[in-house]
């Protein structure tokens, strides 16, 4: 349960770097605080000597009262095991921290995010531009003293709602001309986006190049998106092409950014639960679970047995739901327009009906609570699930398999395309099916079990080629494993309470930090939460799998044809609600 590292008098790390590594002794905190000037050296040591090769999450925290900024790193071993975290502190008025991209390239997007939202400067970062906000945006929105346009109070509930709640529309409270804060001397009429120039400049010289035969060639830059059916939402890929071959590719995102984390810090702990549904709207059940785990860790409560079974049941149904939908969308990207996806959606429909009956909503489930779930399974639902997992799903997944797997066109289009080697996958912090299709059998349900997964019998699906085809086939494997889990769960589910203690709308969360993560259908979904004992979290950070999986996109696309970039993106399985947050 506890992620506390068992420390004798002095760990080898402390002994090796005397004076540069301090234990984090704040109440409720763990891990080490490292001096910024030694960071790269120590991080290399942690990766190479201690074996923590997988960087899970990087994020910043603004400690406004202390005048400090902190960068928090969460690292794991891909062979399994619990968390190791370390921090770097810097001054708030001039936050500079060395970049860890040379050590873990997976830090790339996450450091850009920390720069964008908190204004922490990462020295030595290869491409430190804003990532979620637009260029020309004033300020860094996750700083504690930054206020949004409709700012009302530091934390909810707002006092204006009760007992003197005379209603007013939000737009009347803050007319449109008062919403936008421009930097000094900024004229939106004359502005040309600086970021675009920097983006294109990053591609280097485009004209008068020579190919390997000495022929003079020009490269061209094309934009896919942000309005493009293949990008699964408002996502943009800027590619440098030589002929049809992708020489370089840069993802651009943030079009759906709504500052989820800032909203989360205004909310009370419970109020965040329905917001997590909106991150990855395909898998709201697992999004709920990750958040519930993180807060339960802080509160130190245990979940009743029946609730644990229900949680697993819902999470595995979500996985099937997500994977069939993803397979369908991938086939759409390959040009098999809408026949496969509608076959897949039949199964999805049946799962969503179950969610609707259990949670009240098909997609925005809001079903988990701290210490349990909202309500028990309604009558007849268990029987329905039993029917699905024993009769329908195995048959239907086999049918999907015969339908697609040996299709020559699909194999031609996907085999050997978008290869990600295991080394690249780990270095880029790829998670979920993307990582496992590259031959790294890393599944949190096995590597660092939560809930009752340690008691359930299932295999970690793994494939070894790391191409689009393996990413397709691994999803079929995972569906089969999920069916296996569900068959055990519906058989063994015990009776009993579904909620620890009385349901409370004001969760009392003791001060401290916690990192809760689950193996979502898209990969490791982590929540980093800092509580200072007040009703609202001080920091609420989401480690979104589809956001960080995009770090590997450039590596996968280089050298492939531009038409394949579309299906490579489809094989990562992104949801823009989660990428942009």
């Amino acid at each position: 349960m506890s992620d506390q590292i068992l420390t004798p008098e002095k760990t080898p790390l402390e002994a090796r770097f005397q004076g540069a590594v301090l234990r984090d002794e704040r109440k409720g905190y763990q891990g080490f605080i490292i001096k910024a000037e030694n960071l790269v050296e120590i991080a290399t040591y942690i990766r190479d000597e201690m074996g923590y090769d997988f960087l899970s999450s990087v994020t910043g925290v603004d400690y406004l009262p202390e005048g400090k900024m902190e960068v928090v790193y969460h690292v794991y071993k891909t062979t399994g095991g619990s968390l190791f975290n370390f921090k770097v502190q810097t001054l708030r008025n001039n936050p500079v921290v060395p970049s860890l991209v040379p050590v873990w390239p997976g830090a790339n997007f996450q450091e850009r995010e920390a720069w964008d939202l908190l204004g922490i400067h990462f020295e030595g970062h290869p491409d430190l531009r804003r990532i979620l906000m637009w260029e020309g945006f004033e300020g860094h929105p996750l700083r504690k003293d930054w206020r949004e346009a409709y700012f009302e109070d530091e934390g909810k509930p707002y006092k204006s709602r009760w007992p003197e709640g005379h209603v007013k529309r939000v737009e009347d409270a803050n007319p449109l001309n008062d919403n936008v804060d421009y930097p000094a001397g900024f004229d939106p009429e004359k502005w040309t986006p600086v970021g675009e120039t920097a983006l294109y400049a990053g591609f280097g010289q485009l004209d008068n190049l020579e190919d390997e035969t000495g022929l003079e060639v020009d490269n061209i830059v094309i934009n896919l998106g942000p309005q493009h059916p293949s990008t699964h939402g408002v996502f943009r890929m800027v590619a440098r092409l030589e002929g049809e071959t992708v020489m370089d590719l840069k993802p651009v995102m943030g079009y759906l950014h709504r500052n989820h984390e800032k909203i989360g810090e205004r909310n009370t702990f419970l109020q965040n639960m329905p917001y997590t549904d909106r991150l990855d709207y395909f898998c709201s059940m697992t999004s709920n679970w990750g958040y519930a785990l993180a807060v339960e860790k802080l509160m130190g409560i245990k979940v009743p047995e029946r609730a644990e079974y229900i949680r697993v049941m819902m999470a595995e149904l979500t996985r099937i739901n997500n994977h069939v939908a993803n397979i369908g969308f991938l086939l759409n990207d390959l040009g098999a327009y809408f026949t496969p996806i509608l076959y897949c959606f039949e199964e999805r429909e049946l799962i969503l009906d179950i969610f609707e009956a259990v949670a009240g909503s098909r997609m925005m489930c809001n079903y988990f609570r701290f210490g349990g779930v909202v309500r028990d399974l309604p009558e007849g639902i268990l029987e329905k699930i039993r029917q699905l997992v024993y009769e329908r799903f195995p048959r239907k997944i086999d049918e999907l398999d015969t339908y697609l797997t040996n299709n020559e066109i699909i194999r031609h289009r996907t085999e050997g395309v978008g290869v990600l080697t295991p080394q690249q996958a780990i270095a880029n912090s790829a998670v979920g099916p993307l990582l496992r299709a590259s031959g790294v059998p890393y599944d949190i349900r096995r590597a660092d079990p939560y809930g009752i997964y340690d008691r359930l019998d299932f295999d970690v699906a793994v494939r070894y080629h790391g191409d689009v085809f393996d990413r397709y086939i691994i999803r079929l494997d995972e569906i089969r494993q999920s069916i296996r889990i569900l068959q055990q769960v519906v058989k063994e589910i015990p009776d009993g309470p579904i909620q620890e203690g009385k349901p409370q709308y004001q969760a009392r969360v003791p001060a401290g930090e916690s990192y809760g993560r689950v193996e979502g259908p898209k990969g490791e979904l982590g929540y980093y939460i800092i509580s200072n004992g007040k009703p609202n979290p001080w920091r609420y950070h989401v480690r979104a799998p589809s956001f960080i999986n995009l770090t590997a996109l450039t590596d996968m696309c280089k050298g492939n044809k531009i038409a394949d970039a579309v299906c490579i993106l489809g094989s990562i399985d992104i949801v823009l609600g989660e990428v942009d947050r």
Binding site: K156, Q271, I409, Y505
Partner: protein, 204 residues
């Protein structure tokens, strides 16, 4: 043989194609075809092999009891035709609401200035409501519940976006009709609490 995979795959499509007509025919013979309650229930079950779709708006999916859309206020119909709201304006729903879309004005006694447990005004901004159901979940008086009616479209946004107490009011009988199991459970809990109270009073 090269191309066998494609042929096999097309076989699956062909099977689906014929299954659709076969299923249609069987349903026609069994009398649970389109536009019947039985037909909709069949197409929502895991046995369906052909057409999956529902002909909205002529047909509608059967809503499960726990389905939630927007909140409404439960009132008890009095014999003189008046409405007695269960709401005591305690403000828990307004405090727990994640997007803060509930606005309540408490009634105060004009003579003493003390609060009376009944809302003077009650508003929900439906534009902002995220249909999470936390208000209904944490209401200690079963006074606010989630509705099943999801057809709320209007021509003008401001026509029906902020609902006041009158627009939100729905009778207990309506609540009992959309959520019979929940209603029965709450009623029995209520009766139990009532009898416990009486028993306590009876004891000197």
């Amino acid at each position: 043989m090269y191309g066998l995979g494609i042929i096999k795959g097309l076989g699956v499509t062909l099977k689906h194609f014929f299954m659709t007509f076969w299923d249609d025919l069987m349903r026609f013979l069994k009398g649970n075809r389109y536009y019947t309650r039985k037909g909709v229930a069949y197409r929502m079950s895991s046995e369906v092999r052909g057409i999956f779709t529902i002909q909205y708006p002529e047909e509608k999916l059967a809503l499960p009891e726990e389905f939630r859309y927007t909140p409404f206020l439960v009132y008890i119909e009095k014999e003189d035709g008046g409405k007695e709201f269960r709401c005591t304006s305690c403000g828990i729903c307004a405090k727990v609401c994640p997007p803060q879309c509930i606005w309540i004005v408490r009634t105060t006694d004009p003579n003493t200035g003390r609060p009376i447990p009944s809302p003077a005004e009650f508003y929900i901004d439906i534009d902002i409501c995220m249909n999470c159901g936390l208000c209904a979940e944490f209401c200690p008086f079963d006074a606010i519940k989630m509705d099943h009616n999801f057809e709320l479209s209007v021509y003008n946004r401001h026509e029906k976006d902020i609902l006041n107490k009158e627009a939100l009011a729905k009778p207990v009988s309506y609540y009992a009709s959309i959520r019979p199991t929940n209603y029965a459970r709450e009623q029995s809990a209520r009766a139990e609490a009532e009898s416990a109270k009486l028993a306590k009073k009876a004891q000197p």
